[in-house]
Every structure is written in structure tokens, then in C-alpha cells.
Symmetry: C2
Subunit: 467 residues, 2 copies
Amino acid sequence: MKLRNGKDLRAFFEPESVAIIGSLREGVGLGYGVVKNMLDYGFPGRLYPVNPSCTEVMGLKAYSDVSEVAESIDLAVVITPPPTVPSIIEQCAQKGVKGAVIVSENFAEANKDGAKLQKQLVDITNNNGIRIVGPNTVGTINTANGLVTIPYPIGYERIRRGGIALCSQTGVAAAQCQPLGDWAYPVGKMCDVGNKCDVNEVDLLNYLADDVETKVIVMHLEDVKDGRRFVEAAGRAARRKPLVIFKPGRSEAGARASASHTGSLAVSDRVYDDALKQAGAVRVNTWQEFWDVPKVFEYQPLPAGNRTAIITHSGGIGVMATDAAAEAGLEIAGFSAATLDKLAKISPRLARNPIDLGPALSVSDDPINIQAEIMAVAMNDPNVDCGTIIVYGGVMAPIPLIVEMFSHVRQRVSKPLTVWVYGSKLSLTAELRQQLEELGLPTYNDPETAIKALGSLVTYANFRRSI
Amino acid sequence: MKLRNGKDLRAFFEPESVAIIGSLREGVGLGYGVVKNMLDYGFPGRLYPVNPSCTEVMGLKAYSDVSEVAESIDLAVVITPPPTVPSIIEQCAQKGVKGAVIVSENFAEANKDGAKLQKQLVDITNNNGIRIVGPNTVGTINTANGLVTIPYPIGYERIRRGGIALCSQTGVAAAQCQPLGDWAYPVGKMCDVGNKCDVNEVDLLNYLADDVETKVIVMHLEDVKDGRRFVEAAGRAARRKPLVIFKPGRSEAGARASASHTGSLAVSDRVYDDALKQAGAVRVNTWQEFWDVPKVFEYQPLPAGNRTAIITHSGGIGVMATDAAAEAGLEIAGFSAATLDKLAKISPRLARNPIDLGPALSVSDDPINIQAEIMAVAMNDPNVDCGTIIVYGGVMAPIPLIVEMFSHVRQRVSKPLTVWVYGSKLSLTAELRQQLEELGLPTYNDPETAIKALGSLVTYANFRRSI
């Protein structure tokens, strides 16, 4: 049996050549879908469509069998009826293929026949060393080289390249189901682990911890195959880079549902929670946090402490933000005398935290610069470690002006910031958020998540200081 | 002093005539903004723009003074410099104006001079009976008659008419700051209470409890002027219709921030929490819940119990939804033998709750009808009181098909439902959500909020059964 140290996962993300085995029927075949995605996203490596009833697809020669391919193949994407899969994987192993993404479903998750087929796959990987992602996976993505092994259309826009590596155990968290392009979400690698017959969370943690392109590791987990190895790998990864874990099944009913869905034993959530804390992972607990928390690690530095400034146009929102800060373990910073003095000179009612910008704006002819000035003064106070800015954008405050304001802020502030953008037109707030994300500012849908993300940054910074 | 029973708030929402007192300068004056909104939204009553330096605005005769108006005036909207406001309100009272919305700011919230001016307003309302909303309010809205006393552009689209009455103590919760049109949010009346020098939460509760157009009362509160009267009014309102309250300041720091912002005493959150529970109000704790929970009361009936069905395309999402259900006080329903039998006949793997639709779809040529059938079978089980449906919409599942499916479901299911819609394109999910909201289905941004809304419905149903 081959040593599995996670290093050999490179074939799943950095292959030089990929065989796509499945239906190549134009427009509908799932193999066709993978070939199309690869071409659309500009994958530069060699592609070998494989289907016995096809000779050419989208200008590429098609092969009836992987053994027909003269050159070496690093990765195979397999989307064929389950009973055919073991022999195809066997052929791939004979051919020297390093990894196979098995998108086909109806294996162990479906019934006993499927479980038998999956057992055959396990035997092949154990005997021949070929690594397997899946079966019952949606596939993998690497934005650095345009690799997309997902057979479905993954949105209209190219996904933005970034440092987030996102692994999940549900296809709903994969790229074809989430508006990653619209969010300007900074994706590096994605992997739906599927049934985990071979490659699992431990392999991915080890690979991604070493991967220089990955800045943040994010994992949605339903179960953990080997708790001791997982804690080791998570601890090793979290010492190198932020590790964000979403592990549902927190409630007893949820743990039962998870066990029934994955075929694993129900494990008390306390066990997971303690293990994740010990490893230094940041745990998130909702779908929104799963997507929204990682961005702060991608874009923002770690804070020196938990003292936060809150800058808003509304005293009422300041109160909500203060509640959220308390829940996220943040302290509302007390401004220094020098800062209070500077703020009071701009407008007497500014000199407190949360800062309510409203009154200052009604006395200024240059609202953009005065706001940028106030933000810089507050954030550069030595008593402030981090901050959240709450801003209206849209009909009454044109997007270019808001972006200009934040450009000034970015130049003058090096401490971590999160932003909540609100407004009366969804398309305008979405556009403004995209532009701010491109400036490197993580933006959020509500004040609580903007502050929760900052709290996660503090939690991880504390862990890093503790090691 | 006039008796204040809340009945006389009609002038703020149902006036036959409105004077708008402020700058009428085209495009920039705040008085102009109110006149424009009133005309754009089709307010059918008489409008009297008032400004001494203007004779006509947008085809309407302008007056230099309210006393110049020969006819009666129900409501005055006042947006003039603070020192001028008391005498204007005095004139309005002499003229017999029933209510004034004072949008001008820089009163008690600003400084001592402002507090003195506000005291003068209190004296006028006490002596002359004219009711005041504000000062420092953004204004009021009534979608039934197109009344908009807000001076700012309130989005591009007309707000959808509905039964939600939403009162807030921050302008950020008013219509010019939230995408109500894009959300197809079913608004009846809105009121930003501002500094509450006269009209406060108790008046509004009493008025809205009696208002036949209002199906759901929603309040964002920072402070409560008179706790005993508030609990009475809230209890009376909640016995008639759902009452949803967002009271930030839950944390100690938040309570201090709120007290500092409103000038009220910090009250322990426990006191509020107990009072709201006793009154039968549904408490929400985040910005998203504040907007998202009320919709379920607008559209859906009250459930007979807390047993819920969860219908999804992903086992993994089912686990997250189960966690959320446990947190929202819902029980995962156990299907009856007859239901299990029917589901198993469609596909053996369907016969459990949460239902994972995925496997059934891959065996059916008619995915829309088979899904509608499964949803109807599950929801009509006598062991099921309510449900959440999780659905992908967009590139791979065209919106008209999803809408058709939910039309079938609406025809066959009378129990309460909430929906989480996800997809890879923000504009498509937004469009689908709008169409489902128009079918009367409350839709959500994430599974947790869809289920939290259902939990709130159960909480209120329990209260109604207890009285």
C-alpha cells in the first residue's frame, strides 16, 4: 500500500493532463460539461475526452479508452454508470493515472449494491496507489490554472482568483450552486469530498497546509474518518494559516441526521468543539458565516488585540453593532485623549465610540474626505486594534464616491477592517460590494456578520500568539 | 391636555391633506423631495407645499404660510431649521392641523439648545393637542394611499403593498435605505419615531393594533418611555395580531451605547426580555431577523404545532437545517406509515425527514411534478405542522419551472412553509425570490433564517393558544 501523506493530491489540482470519461453528448453530457468548463476557464494542460461512441468534441480528439492515449495522464474525471466505474479506475491505475475524481453517484450513499462497488474502489486505491476523490462528488476547481472538474455550468462569470481553499461534504457548497463570481469571492481551490472512499479531510488539510497558493483553509465537514489524525492535521494546518471549520450536527437531532446521511457514528458535538478549539481552528456555525468569515482572513491582517472601533451613520446601528461585538468577544475601544480631541474638532458629537458620522456630514461640504479623515483618525488610535465600518451606498451616495473614500481609508489604515454596506437597490449594493472586495475590503450583508468576521480574526490571532 | 389614546394617529397615515413645509428648491430641497415622492407614489389627497420664497412647485401652487391655505390640513411635514420649528408647529396647531412629522434634526439628540427647542415642541403638543412624530425622524409611509413623508428617494421601484407595519428608531430601517422594492417586501405602514417627543411606541402599538390594514406589527426599539404602558399596549396588540420586536442593547455594552444614544436609562436586558415574553411579542435579535421574520406572518397561517418537515436536494443541508430547527424550538416530524409508504414508492431513499430530493430526481423524467408531489405528500402528513423547502434556482433550473412547481405546492398545501433559494447568479435568485414572494411564499437568504422564521410562527401560535 502506498504511503498517503497528502502530497500526492497535486494531481487533483495541478495536473498537466486530464482524461474526461463520460457522455460527450453536446450540451447535455456530463463529460461534455467538464470539457466545456475546462476550455471556458482556460485550463492550459492536455485534455483527453474519453467515450467509445465519439471521435471528437469541441475540436478535441476523443478516445475510446484511456489506454489509447499515448501520453501520460495525471488526472481522470469519471462520470459513467456506477457498475462501469471500478473497471475504468482499474484501467486508469494501469495507465499510471495519479488521481481520479469520481463524479458518478449511487455508491455507498445509495444502497448495498453501491456500497459493494465503493468497496471495490477502495481495494483498487489500496492496491494500485491511484488516489480517488469521491465517488458522489461534484468535483474540484483550481482558479490558478482554470482546472474545473465540475460537469455543471458554474455561473456566468469567471470566478475570481484568490487564496481561499474551500472543501465541503455537500455539492451545494460547490461552485455551480453559489454566486462566487457575483460576490467577487477570492477562490483558490475547491473540493467536494463526496463519499470520501479515499481522499478525506486529513489528506486535504495536509496538502493545503503546504500549498503556497492557499492563504485560508475552509472546511465543511459532516463526519471525520479518524479523529486523532484529523486533530493532528488540523493543528498542523492552523499553525501555518487560518483554518475555518463548519461542522453541523451541533444539536442532537442534527448529529443523528448527519450520522444517518453519512453512515458514520453520531459523535457528541462537545467532542468536535473541544478538538477544533485545541487544534486552533476557527469554528463557524451557520451557512452565512461559512461563506462570510473566511474573506476576512484573505484580505485583512491579524489584529494586535480585540479593541474595536465602530463607525456608522446611525446611533441605532451602533447599538446593534455593540451587541454583536460583545457576542464576538470584541471590546469597544476607548479612544485616546488625542483622538477624542481630533474628532471633537471636526464635530463635538463624534467624540465617542461607536462613532455616528451623521452629525459631522451635515456640517461639511466635502463628505467623502471628511468621512475618510474620521475613519483614519479613529483607526489609527493606539487604543484601537480593528474596526467595522457601516456605510450606505447607492441612489443617494454614488458608488464611485464611496469607493474613492475607501481607497483613501485603505491607504491610511493598516489595521483590519470589515464593512457592512446597505442601500435601497440590491444591484447597486452588490456592485459596490464587488468593488470594495476588489480593494481588499471584506463586505457583509448585515452588521452582525461583519463584526462576527472581525471576532474570528481576533480568535485566530489569539491562537497564533499562544503558540 | 388632550387624551392620547393612539386613535388620533390617523393623520400620520391617512390624511386627506398634507402641507409640506421646507425648501422647495428643485432636485435638492428636502421639501421638494417630499412633494416629489407624494406625486410619484400617487398620493390622492390635497398637497400644500409651503415656502415663502416659492409660488409653484411641480405644478402645485405653493403657499408662504399654512394660514394662507383656505382648506383644512390634516398633516404637516416640517423640514426647516430647528429654531423655526416651534413657531411653525404653533401656527399649524392654530390652523387646526392634526399631526406634524418633524423631519428636521439637531434637537435633543444634538445639544442643549436643541433640547430646549424640543421642550417647546412638547409644550405645544401638550397645550394644543397637535400630535408630533419626531423631531429627527425620516418620516412615514402608507402604501395603501401612496403617502410618503420621507424627503429622500426611496428606491427606483414602488414598494409593494402588504400588511407589515414597521416602526423603527433609526432612519437606516426606513424605506430610503433598504431594498424593499427589490425584495417585494409587503409593506403597509412605516414610521421612524425619531426623538419621540410626542408619538411613541405605545401610541403606535395602540393605533396599529386597531388598524385593519395591518396584519403584522414590527418594531425596532432603542428605549421605552413608559414600561408599564408599553407592556399593556404590547399585550393588547399581540392578542390581536403578531407583534415582532427588535430591541438591541442586549449586551451590557450595547445597553450603555443605547442609553448614551437615546438619553434614556440603561435597563437590564432581562427586564425587556421578560416583559416582551409576557406580552406575547416575538423577539428577534439580529438585523436580518428583523427584516426576514415578519414576512412569515404576512404570508403564512399559524401552525398547529412545532413538527416540521425539511425538504432539500442535499443531505448535508438537511443536517444544517436540523440544527437550526433544534435552535428554533422545532421538532423534526416523524412521517406517518402512509407517508413513508408513498415516498418509498417514488424512491426508496426519500422515506425520511429531512427529505433529500436528489436521488428521486435522477430517476424521474418530470422533475417539477415529482418534486411538487413529494412536497405535497410530506406536508399533508398529519404528523407535520409546518415545513421549510430548500431549492436551487437559476442557470440549471429555469425560474418559470420553479415558480410553476411552487404554484402546485401552494394549491395542495395549506400548512405554513418557508423557502431558502440558492443559486450561482445573484440576479436570478433575486428574481426567483421576488416571484415566490408574490406567490405568498416567504423566501430567505440562508437555511437558518428560513427555519428561524418558522420557529417564530410556532412561538406566536403557542402564545395565541395560551390566551
